[in-house]
């Protein structure tokens, strides 16, 4: 008993002493702390390594990367900015998700601040601009395609497909051999829309041209080309794992990373996720979304993902802007692509992509028509938003609550309640 008491007292003293050591903060005296936010909590270590490069050259500045969980990011950012305690550097999602922060007057006008802004891809700049004012530095984009397990493909003598017919045949072979073809679930509402529909469906509905027609109100989701995309996603139902209705995103990732499924319809941001989950990078392959017919040009979803803005009310505005200029430059771009392969920097600089998967994803851009996620721009500015509706329709379709045509009709009819070009 005496001993136990002693142990308790000693541990209490130790905890207190540790508290004193960590609370000291002498190291930070006279330094400026720049807090940056993001919705990617999985990137902390990698981002800290990138920011260390900046801190080496700016010994008086501490870059503090403080991400919030994806689901809470918007709520947190809005609340912190409106109450005046926002971070100095704000990560912005594209189009109408990032715009409200600018419209509420929280962001610095970066138009004349970012060096070489005119050399950045204009489509990317457009995702964080309004009326000629750029409020977010186009930092990185992501692409969508299909990951595959090289060992499983090799075992059954399979090669990556080019066309949809080949893709379906491949799935049939895998199924016949007793493999689970695709690690895809229908529980999380976003994966089927953001990745499967926008990624694989674009080849069916006609990519960017069709998306522009939709935005202009000249096309509808119920048009045959869009319905074909819904049907294509639906045709994969057969190849999903048992219990796919209850398979969530993290379980999908685990399943592919641990070799329990042959393929994963995913985004380029998952390269490092699989690596961190212990998948052997040499065993992970990737192929672009299969085209509908041989000879078709690839409609490639290269989505504008991360923009970076500066909080107008930052206490260290000058230092924050200085840091942002570095983020816009070549050193950051290279470091980002090394640390987070699959995030493709928009910085107009000669950067090398060292990761073979990322290089494969990047290579196909040249022979494709790039586009972004189907109903992300404009169509998701108001409730009920295109993103939300797709997140209801597609999982519903996969469990036979809607036919592909009904799913398309549902989204279209709800968008017609508010989207101006559809109401004319």
């Amino acid at each position: 008993m005496k001993l136990a008491k002693r142990v308790v007292v000693l541990s209490l003293v130790a905890v207190l002493a540790m508290g004193l050591v960590f609370a000291g903060g002498d190291k930070e005296k006279g330094k400026v702390r720049i807090v940056t936010t993001s919705w990617r909590t999985e990137d902390v270590e990698r981002m800290n390594r990138i920011n260390a490069l900046y801190m080496e050259k700016h010994p008086n500045v501490i870059i503090d990367f403080q991400p919030t969980a994806d689901e809470e990011y918007d709520a947190n950012t809005t609340a912190s900015l409106e109450t005046g305690i926002g971070a100095d550097i704000i990560y912005l999602r594209s189009y109408d998700e990032g715009l409200p922060y600018y419209e509420a007057g929280h962001l610095v006008d970066l138009t004349d601040i970012i060096p070489n802004l005119d050399k950045f891809p204009s489509a990317a700049v457009g995702a964080w601009s309004k009326d000629g004012v750029t409020y977010g530095l186009p930092s990185a984009g992501v692409t969508h395609g299909v990951y595959y397990n090289k060992a499983i493909f090799k075992k059954h003598g399979l090669t990556p497909p080019k066309t949809w017919a080949e893709f379906i045949k491949l799935n049939e072979t895998l199924l016949a051999k007793g493999e689970v073809p695709i690690a895809q679930g229908a529980l999380d509402d976003w994966t089927l829309y953001e990745v499967a529909f926008s990624g694989l469906g674009a080849n069916f509905y006609g990519g960017e041209a069709a998306r522009q027609a939709l935005l202009a109100g000249k096309a509808k989701l119920t048009d045959p080309n869009f319905v074909k995309a819904f049907e294509a996603v639906y045709s994969l139902k057969k190849y999903l794992p048992r219990g796919y209705e209850a398979l969530d995103y993290s379980a999908m990732l685990q399943m592919f990373a641990s070799g329990q499924a042959a393929m994963f319809i995913g985004g380029s941001w998952e390269i490092s996720t699989f690596e961190d989950m212990g998948a052997d990078p040499a065993n992970v392959g990737w192929f672009a979304p299969p085209v509908e017919k041989a000879g078709d040009r690839l409609q490639y979803c290269f989505h504008v993902d991360i923009g970076v803005g500066v909080n107008k009310n930052s206490k260290h505005l000058d230092e924050a802007i200085e840091y942002l200029k570095w983020v816009a430059g070549a050193e950051y771009a290279q470091a980002l692509m090394n640390e987070l392969p699959g995030f493709f920097s928009y910085t107009p600089a000669d950067v090398k992509i060292n990761d073979p998967l990322a290089a494969a994803m990047f290579e196909v851009i040249a022979d494709s028509d790039p586009t972004v996620r189907t109903v992300w721009e404009k169509l998701s500015a108001q409730a009920p938003s295109g993103n939300e509706l797709m997140g209801i329709a597609l999982p519903g379709m996969m469990v036979d609550k809607y036919t592909p045509k009904e799913a398309a009709e549902f989204v279209q009819s709800q968008l017609e309640t508010w989207y101006p070009p559809f109401r004319k």
Binding site: E71, D74, A75, T78, A79, E82, T83, R93, D96, E97, P100, E103, A104, G185, A186, L187, D188, D189, P241, R242, G243, Y244, E245, A246, L247, D248, A251, Q254, M255, Q260, W376, S380, A381, Q382, A383, P384, S385, G386, N387, E388, G391, I392, P395, G396, V399, K401, Q414, T417
Partner: protein, 299 residues
């Protein structure tokens, strides 16, 4: 006349004296509960972007909620889900809680230990409980993964209700054991001598004695369930997967008020309207409870 003045003065002093004790609590309650609730009701009459909507639109948000299909469906869905959720949790916690309490109050070996340990899950964080259940139910590696419990529209909500009941059954057991322990042992012994069997004992002595506890347990469950958010967040995300079948008022409010439209948000004004509806529902239920149980006691 003089004594009358003295009387009133004394009465006033008494009131002030009592008020002095109430004042601190009243102030705290007013500033951190009452004013925010009233202010959130005020916000429900406004529209606009950001944290503080500033365009007055009268009942516009409510009209939208009750007339536009996609909004009405969500609010009505959350309401009915909440009712179902409440009924399942109430049944499980009251009935199971009662029988388990009966069991742990019997003079059986190990009953005292069981009594203590039954409260253990209640001390866990809801997020931990949600995570545990998700692992157990995971279709790939979970031991109960042979059926898509959380993916099926009919089983998802009951599954959540079971998880919550499992966690909080300790509370019901605790309250019921207190009630059962409070029954004078002489009463039970007398009944036994008179030849009452177990069923009669329960029907005529134990049940009437613990009726007020049924009321308290049910009220606690009611308030807890209609403001429930954590379990949905932990198990089926704030979208109430699958397809809003596990969407409760708590998750609906969180999503509509704090998310951007692209992620299912409706704007802060609409969110405030949702929370006001939530408040009315909870207040209505609590009102009924007071009416039924408190009046009975006074009578």
């Amino acid at each position: 006349m003089g004594s009358n003045v003295l009387h009133t003065r004394r009465k006033w002093r008494k009131i002030l004296f009592r008020l002095g004790f109430l004042l601190p609590a009243l102030l705290i309650y007013t500033f951190i509960l009452l004013i925010p609730i009233v202010d959130s009701m005020r916000l429900s009459f406004y529209t606009g972007s950001g944290l503080i909507p500033n365009t007055f639109i009268g009942f516009g948000n409510y009209i939208k909620i009750f007339t536009q299909e996609v909004f009405r469906e969500r609010v009505w869905g959350a309401f009915t889900n909440n009712i179902k959720f409440f009924l399942i949790v109430t049944l499980l916690q009251n009935i199971l809680g009662f029988f388990l309490a009966m069991a742990v109050t019997r003079p059986i070996k190990g009953a005292k230990f069981m009594r203590k340990i039954s409260f253990l899950p209640t001390t866990l964080s809801v997020l931990v409980v949600g995570f545990l259940f998700r692992q157990i139910l995971n279709p790939i590696w979970g031991i109960l993964g042979n059926f898509p419990w959380l993916g099926n529209e009919h089983t998802a909500l009951p599954t959540l209700a079971v998880a919550v009941s499992w966690q909080f059954i300790g509370e019901s057991i605790l309250l019921y054991t207190v009630g059962i322990d409070g029954i004078p042992i002489e009463l039970l012994e007398a009944a036994r001598i008179d030849g009452a069997n177990w069923f009669q004992e329960m029907r005529h002595i134990i049940l009437p004695a613990i009726m007020p506890i049924v009321g308290i347990v049910t009220l606690l469950i009611y308030v807890g369930d209609f403001t429930q958010f954590d379990i949905v967040y932990a198990m089926t995300t704030t979208s109430g997967n699958p397809r809003f079948k596990t969407d409760l008022f708590g998750s609906l409010f969180y999503r509509t008020a704090f998310s951007t439209p692209a992620r299912g948000g409706w704007g802060m004004g609409m969110g405030a309207a949702v929370s006001t509806i939530m408040f009315v529902v909870v207040a209505f239920g609590v009102g009924i409870w007071f009416f039924v149980f408190q009046r009975k006691r006074d009578a």
